[in-house]
């Protein structure tokens, strides 16, 4: 019988599950994070998967990872490096060990470290631990495959199905290591496979086997860990990825505005999950059209917008290239449209599954003519909900296309999401043309305050009109090439965007900071964590993370000029810094730029910011 083990209290821990693309590492990681969230931990997850659907089994290119960061309080990032690495085969150990902390616990399936596996993973000898310089005392070497086969020998499952359960063994072992209540996992599985109870029970058996393996052998580790929960804001929560949160924000906005939600889209990594999610919710009246190409995705959304829907098109950078012409049409038509760019590594096909912030200038300026467009960048997986809602609100109330920037990192990452109350959210009131204007109305008459034109949806008698991609007369709405009129219309379209009210930028950290960190969008978590570390070290540091990029918050110039040293940190070669220099006179920031397709590493940020502080 197992003797009592020491239980160490940790404030946070990072676990990375890794294996072949088909090993179900994402599911194991998701269950672990959900179960942790259920007991009140802060969570943040990050899937790191290859672009190939299924690379050859056991090969280095086929390894997929899923990192989970759990903490007693709020967790801002999925963590730099992991405390526990699960490697389901030799290739996973080879490629993923670099993400492990020096003292990390490594869990491996010794059944997947045979001569063939080692050869495929390009190990030279059978001393794979030695080759990688891993201390065997830190390794939980367990014949996972054999135990799973033994556990399920009477289950009636075929050999292939049995092997698919290996991930549940790893999950059970990790749950034991972190003192997770195995009943929570059982409940989760029973609910997930409610319609297939046999599958649920087989999975539960394997989870238990993993748990028991840990408990019976102590899994050669000196201690297990417990992560307490600090009281979070009271309320009801769910786990949500950025793409799902984006979809939910759109559904909420359409309902609030009393409009049908229409998505015109074309599959593209890493944005496709928005199409998947919205396609599920037909019972809420959502229409999704998977179009023949990216151009049609955007064009059909413009048609839907003309017809009176909340129209959306979703894509990634390469798709934005193709949609640009139609986005520009929406600018001159002055019709509401939400364009979602889940950024990935570029240029061209680039790194389809990896994350960058390299589409910012494309979103702002990548069109012919003077083509102003509001741009919003979501800060986190959860913030995608609010960002999508705000993008819809601005599009509908200001009769303009809006670009919502997210990226692969927050789109696929997840965190705990406090269920919002739609009743409490701000109203969305599109500027429908008032009935009183019947007879005198022309399409480019504007609301004085917002500068937005009115919306006359087809079907309304007496408001027939023609919109188009050709410049129109400001008064009559007829085609016009008049020089003065064009100059006026260019200015009116710009003024309309400039007039959009966005919240002031709020500074976090020290008011009297020696260094202001500036970022935008999805780097919020990493920059915040870096700031926290610097402040814990006694440094005076502040953070300004921009969500509203165009227009910028009204207090931007004032905030940026307040600090002696400012660093703009972004995952591109300095696009936001360039935009700020253009918008703020005399702004000369330090820059931290990294374009690796991977999230920032907090430790690297801390070092870079310390160097700037020391200058």
């Amino acid at each position: 019988m197992a003797e009592k083990l020491e239980v160490k209290e940790l404030s946070q821990v990072v676990v990375r599950f890794s294996g072949d693309s088909g090993d179900g590492m994402q599911l194991a990681g998701n269950i672990f994070s959900t179960v942790s969230a259920t007991v009140g931990n802060g969570i943040s997850t990050f899937p790191d998967y290859p672009a190939d659907i299924r690379a050859p089994q056991g090969s280095l290119t086929g390894v997929s990872g899923f990192q989970v960061h759990i903490g007693e309080g709020k967790v801002y990032t999925p963590g730099d490096k992991c405390d526990v690495l699960v490697a389901m085969n030799a290739a996973a150990l080879k490629t993923q060990y670099k993400y492990a902390k020096p003292q990390a616990t490594i869990i491996i399936d010794t059944d997947s470290f045979g001569p063939n596996d080692l050869a495929k993973a390009q190990f030279k000898t059978d001393d794979y631990l030695g080759e990688m310089g891993i201390d065997p005392d830190r390794v939980v070497a367990c014949p996972v495959t054999s135990i799973v086969k033994e556990t399920l020998k009477d289950s009636g499952l075929d050999a292939k199905s049995v092997l698919k359960c290996r991930n549940m063994f790893a999950l059970g072992l990790v749950c034991w290591l972190f003192n997770r209540d195995e009943n929570l996992v059982d409940n989760y599985l029973r609910e997930k496979f409610a319609k297939k109870p046999a599958i649920a029970e087989n999975n539960i058996k394997v989870v238990r086997a993993g748990y028991d393996y840990g408990a019976n052998t102590h899994a050669s580790v000196p201690a297990t860990y417990r992560i307490e929960s600090k009281t979070k804001e009271k309320g009801r929560y769910m786990d949500i990825t950025g793409n799902k949160a984006t979809a939910y924000g759109l559904i909420a906005a359409a309902e609030k505005a009393g409009l049908r939600l229409y998505l015109g889209s074309y599959p593209i990594t890493p944005a496709t999950d928005i199409l998947h999610e919205l396609s599920k919710h037909k019972s809420c009246g959502v229409i999704t059209v998977q179009c023949e190409d990216e151009l049609a995705g955007c064009a059909s959304a413009i048609g839907a917008s003309f017809a009176g829907a909340l129209a959306v098109t979703s894509t990634s950078g390469p798709g934005i290239c193709l949609k640009s012409e139609a986005m520009n049409l929406a600018v001159i038509l002055e019709l509401p449209l939400v364009v979602i760019d889940v950024q990935r590594g570029g240029p061209a096909t680039g790194l389809p599954t990896k994350s960058e912030q390299t589409d910012l200038l494309q979103a702002l300026f990548g069109r012919n003519g003077e083509s102003p467009m509001p741009v919003i960048a979501a800060l986190s997986p959860v913030d995608c909900f609010d960002a999508a809602y705000q993008a819809s609100k601005i599009a509908l109330e200001h009769m303009t296309p809006v670009v919502l920037l997210t990226d692969a990192f927050i789109a696929n990452g997840s965190a705990a999401f406090k269920l919002p109350d739609l009743n409490a959210m701000t109203a969305i009131n599109p500027p429908y043309v008032p009935e009183s204007l019947k007879g005198s109305w022309t399409p480019y008459m504007r609301d004085e305050k917002t500068g937005s034109r009115y919306w006359a949806v087809p079907g309304r008698e007496g408001f027939q009109h023609i919109l188009g991609g050709l410049e129109k007369d400001n008064k009559t709405g007829a085609i016009s090439t008049d020089p003065e009129n064009h100059h006026l219309m260019v200015g009116l379209r710009q003024a309309k965007v400039d007039k959009i009210q966005v919240p002031d930028i709020e500074i976090e950290g020290d008011n009297d900071a020696d260094l202001l960190i500036v970022g935008f969008g999805s780097t919020y978590g990493h920059l915040h964590a870096a700031m926290d570390e610097l402040r814990a070290d006694g440094k005076k540091v502040a953070l300004a993370q921009f969500k509203f990029i165009n227009p910028l918050p009204a207090n931007t110039a004032q905030v940026l000029s307040k600090y002696k040293k400012v660093v703009v940190a972004e995952q591109n070669l300095g696009q936001f810094a360039a935009f700020l220099r253009m918008k703020v006179n005399g702004f000369t920031p330090y820059q931290f730029n990294q374009v690796k397709g991977q999230p920032f590493v907090v430790a690297e940020l801390v070092k870079a910011f310390n160097d700037i502080l020391d200058k």
Binding site: K232, L295, A299, G303, Q464, H465
Partner: protein, 334 residues
């Protein structure tokens, strides 16, 4: 009876060149709409870019003159988002078959309930005279001074290849024939392609010379009508018969052919083999087919979208955002 007159659909002064076939087509479209009687405010006319795509500006309906090639995609979104609208999509041969070819075939494949007008003048007019994807091989234009070295699209072939269920053809100057096919397109539930043969007086004058006036059509065209004999000629003295895998023109009463041998047009036939043969006929050996060549019922995309919304709504327990949230694994922090 319609509550509307032609005047209710007219707006502004068309700016096409004098003698352009677009003028007569516009007049026929407005007449057809008045006879159909769908209110101007329930009608949307959506075009791309090109001479003919200026058309919505002269309509008192809702309309959009959009960007080059995308009219069919924009019209798709418009119709799917608001199926109560009657949507007419207007494109030229460049707009519809070159830059917009992908949207043309997919609107047909999906069978969106659109009236798709293809004004085919076999030339790029607005950019001042380059060959188009319907210009014949060897066609001399500003961008092909020594003649083109490529074969053209035949719109009917493309429509049929995309599983289109309706194809009709009219000559722009033939008001009666044009109105007839426009009405049929409206009545057809689904994507309805009307190829309008239209003369560009400036850059491709005479492209349809043999059939551009009444006299010429009597000799060189055949009006096809569902259920009627495929006869043509000044005194209906010629007929079409099937020979082997193809069609053949015969003179009735000669070489042993009687009216009984002449084919009866079947626009409703699911199999499009003979319809395609009719659509592909050209002079001098064959008359050019005008009228409704194919008109077959099939499920439309927009109907299916709404049927599925209802079907799923009846099955699923959640119908709004608050209920949707409840479908997730939720935990409570107290």
């Amino acid at each position: 009876m319609s509550n509307y007159t032609v005047q209710d659909y007219k707006k502004g002064q068309p700016r096409w060149c004098p003698g352009c076939g677009d003028h007569s087509f516009l007049a026929s479209l407005q007449k057809a709409m008045a006879e159909i009687g769908v209110a101007p405010h329930d009608t949307a006319v959506i075009s791309g870019i090109g001479c003919s795509s200026r058309l919505p500006h002269y309509m008192a309906t809702y309309g959009m003159n959009t960007i080059h090639g995308r009219a069919a995609a924009i019209a798709t979104g418009c119709k799917v988002a608001n199926p109560n609208l009657t949507v007419w999509q207007v494109s030229g041969d460049g707009d519809g078959l070159a830059i917009g070819g992908n949207h043309f075939i997919h609107a047909n494949r999906r069978n969106i309930n659109l009236n798709m007008i293809l004004l085919n003048n076999r030339i790029y007019g607005l950019t001042k005279g380059q060959y188009s994807p319907t210009s014949p091989r060897g066609f001399v234009s500003k961008s092909s001074p020594y003649g083109t070295v490529e074969d053209p699209f035949r719109p009917a072939e493309l429509c049929f290849g995309a599983r289109g269920h309706f194809f009709a053809r009219a000559v722009a100057t033939d008001a009666k024939g044009t109105i007839e096919v426009l009405q049929a397109a409206y009545k057809h539930h689904g994507a309805a392609v009307c190829e309008i043969l239209q003369n560009c007086v400036i850059f491709n004058n005479g492209a349809y010379e043999p059939i551009y006036n009444n006299e010429g059509r009597k000799k060189n065209a055949i009006y096809v009508r569902h259920g009627e004999k495929l006869v043509f000629g000044e005194n209906n003295e010629f007929g079409l018969v099937q020979q082997g895998f193809g069609l053949k023109v015969v003179e009735i009463g000669k070489d042993g052919y009687t009216l009984d041998d002449v084919l009866v047009h079947d626009a409703h036939c699911e199999d499009n083999t003979l319809q395609l043969k009719l659509a592909m006929m050209e002079g001098p050996d064959f008359p050019i087919a005008l009228g409704v060549i194919r008109d077959v019922d099939a499920p439309t995309y927009d109907d299916a979208v709404y049927a599925q919304l209802d079907e799923v709504a009846a099955k699923k327990p959640y119908h709004n955002f608050a209920e949707l949230l409840e479908t997730n694994d939720i935990w409570e922090v107290k």
